[in-house]
């Protein structure tokens, strides 16, 4: 059942259909329930309070997989590095073939609209060399990281050169280094933020007129105690030869609708992850501070528990991140090809995907983009793009999250209840229902839901109210108890004393 190849060619379609039919028949015979789903299962799960994997229904399913052949191109994609979605258009950076493909939505799929291999530079034309990223502004201007030519070019919608961002001549930039821009984003004011290879000071900021105005979001240098001891023990010569302790580099960036830059990094120590010192995902504000909200049981680091299995080891290493309009962000793990979705509070919503050759699995997960609620993932080794669409389960999670964000708490609880019908292991849904019950003053019920999700803060809130009600209802008995414990022994003692005195007299 899970054996078809990705990227269905024209000639193979008939054979494919026959194979599919056979598979379906077989599946009907073996597992009637599975056949009704009509698509291949993903490997989906979330983590519970204890950090155990809880299998979950699929939040996303594969809608389509396409490659260069499906777009009518003769040369297959060669090490494509990035996807960018703007409105109806999808930009695919085909680095190995020195081009950027501009696709446009056509029905349910995509159609090739334009192949960008160069631009007009006044009179003379100029071509791209190993471009690695593209960004398109609201007004349709393109920023292209022309890595091979050590520059970022800004083009108008008709591909006329507007601006070239080159190596900053500023002293904060090491002039011995080549300027190799790999990622670019721009904010609403036209300021560009460029990520360059072998630069570890953060994002280079270029103003609207192309002037370099410094770096933002530099990660603080962190070195451990052992590093410090080694440094103390080594001689000056050795110290000079050591790689200096440098801040880690970002690997990818995404700018959301509100102008916040989400970044991912893969250079960190494993042991820093669970204590949240590594911060592989960051949300940078205008000053470059990390303002990512982390209210989940675990910080957003991808897999909470990782071992050595199937040839993979170590934690998730994110190659890209994308942010939906409801502030849910999805990060792409290039080690195991998994997608990790988190809500605006940093709580894990879903995990799916994997390594492999099947639809919905990746060999070289390089880039992720969103199209409304759909997710597009670029596989740089396969040279293909996989389109995921949310399932009913995924849509319900989004609906519940958005309803809560809009303040429609009762409706949100209703949606969470429906999520629970599909996945009774989803702790976030219990909290969602509990919060609405809390607002509805059904404290006892709310306590039950919060306890199921191990949410002590909200449980305490509900409990406090419930305790108040209990005390008010039983005030007579409590008062009687106090009298019994305090007043009666005192009275008895007094009476005895009086009696004794009477007896003595």
């Amino acid at each position: 059942m899970r054996s078809h190849h990705r990227g269905i060619g024209e000639d193979g379609k008939a054979r494919m259909a026959a194979a599919l039919l056979a598979c379906l028949l077989l599946a009907c015979l073996l597992t009637p329930a599975a056949a009704q789903v009509g698509y291949e299962y993903q490997y989906s799960y979330t983590y519970d309070y204890w950090g155990y994997i809880r299998h979950a229904p699929d939040a996303y399913r594969v809608r389509a997989v396409f490659n260069a052949g499906d777009l009518g191109l003769t040369t297959p994609l060669l090490t494509p590095s990035s996807l960018f979605m703007k409105g109806e258009r999808l930009y695919l950076v085909d680095s190995g073939n020195h081009r950027v493909l501009q696709l446009v939505k056509d029905g349910k799929g995509f159609r090739l609209e334009r192949e960008i291999t160069g631009f007009s530079d006044g009179a003379a034309g100029s071509t791209l060399r190993s471009p690695s990223d593209v960004f398109v502004t609201d007004s349709g201007e393109l920023f292209i990281c022309d890595t091979g030519n050590e520059r970022v070019v800004k083009l108008d919608p008709d591909l006329n050169l507007l601006l070239t961002l080159t190596k900053p001549t500023d002293e904060t930039f090491d002039q011995r280094l080549a300027f190799l821009p790999t990622r670019v984003v721009a904010d609403a004011t036209g300021r560009a933020f460029v990520l360059a290879r072998n630069v570890n000071k953060g994002l280079a900021k270029f103003e609207r007129d192309g002037a370099f105005t410094g770096f933002i979001g530099a990660m603080p240098v962190s070195y451990s105690l052992t590093d410090q001891i080694w440094r103390l023990l080594s001689t000056r010569q050795q110290r000079d030869q050591q790689a200096s302790f440098v801040p880690t580099e970002f690997d990818n960036i995404f700018i959301d609708a509100r102008g916040f830059i989400y970044s991912v990094t893969t250079t960190f120590q494993e042991y820093d992850l669970l204590w949240d010192n590594a911060r592989p995902i960051r949300k940078l504000n205008a000053l470059g501070d990390d303002i990512l909200v982390k209210n989940g049981e675990f910080p957003p680091i991808g897999d909470v528990d990782w071992g050595v299995a199937a040839g993979y080891s170590g934690p998730a290493r994110f190659s890209d991140i994308t942010v939906l309009d409801n502030e849910v962000y999805v990060a792409l793990d290039k080690v195991r090809g998994r997608l990790f979705g988190y809500d605006d509070q940093g709580r894990n919503l879903f995990i799916f995907g994997g390594s492999g050759n099947m639809a919905g699995y990746f060999r070289g997960a390089a880039s992720i983009e969103r199209d409304g609620y759909e997710l597009l993932v670029l596989d740089s080794l396969e040279g293909s793009v996989t389109v995921f669409e949310p399932t009913e389960y995924g849509r319900l999670i989004y609906l519940a999250t958005e309803q809560y964000q809009r303040g429609e708490y009762a409706l949100s609880a209703e949606s969470w209840r429906r999520v629970l019908q599909l996945n009774g292991n989803f702790e976030l849904a219990y909290i969602g229902v509990g919060r609405a019950l809390l607002r509805g003053e059904q404290y006892e019920e709310a306590m039950r839901y919060f306890k199921l999700a191990n949410d002590e803060r909200n449980y305490s809130k509900a409990f406090q109210e419930q305790r108040k009600i209990w005390v008010e209802r039983n005030i007579t008995w409590l008062f009687a108890l106090v009298v019994l414990v305090l007043v009666v022994p005192m009275a008895v003692g007094r009476i005895r004393k009086i009696r004794r005195e009477l007896g003595e007299a």
Binding site: W50, N454, E456, R457, S460, K461, F463, Q464, R467
Partner: protein
Amino acid sequence: MSAAGRETLIRHLGSRAWWQRYGASLRYALHAIVRPFDGFWDLTRERRGSMAAANTIVLLAMLTRVLSLQYTSFLFMRVNWARVNVFTEMLAILLPILIWCVANWSLTTLFEGKGRMPDIYMGTAYALTPYVLIQLPLILLSNVVTVEEGAIYSVLSSISLIWCGFLIVVAMMMIHDYTLGKTLAFMVMSLFGMLVIVFLMMLFFSLISDGIAYLVSLYKELTFRLY
């Protein structure tokens, strides 16, 4: 239990005097924990304590541990029931006490410690009284406070442990008739002794299990050859 032992036990349970002595020695724990210096001196030397009472306190401590796992509000104690074995939890109290007694006796008996093994056990057991006295009501308390008021819980919980620790030090001091410095030094050494004992036990078990595994594989190999 031998027939004679059973007879003695039955005779004890039937005798009113034995019950009175048991009750008095158990009540003595309440005295010993508030006046530890005199209390632990008299515990063995004046025979104010009894082994039955010591066993009772250890049992109560084990019971407290299990009850608090089950009934403490989840705000203060998260129990992953998938990973809990009640007997392991009880042994987690009992075994350290027993190993402590062995390690402590083994060392102090070489260095003019006056305590015999039963004395050490009795002293340690009586020193656990505050744990039982405070942790049991804390289970109830935990169910009527919120997270914000949880400081009361954690403070009381810490007090019970600190109190126990203090009592164990005093108990060792009085039982062995040591000075404070000597007591502390020997307690630290006893802790190392416990580590050695645990290490030897683990070594022993792993050797035994290796030996059994060897015999099992030998048997399997032979049966494969023969059939």
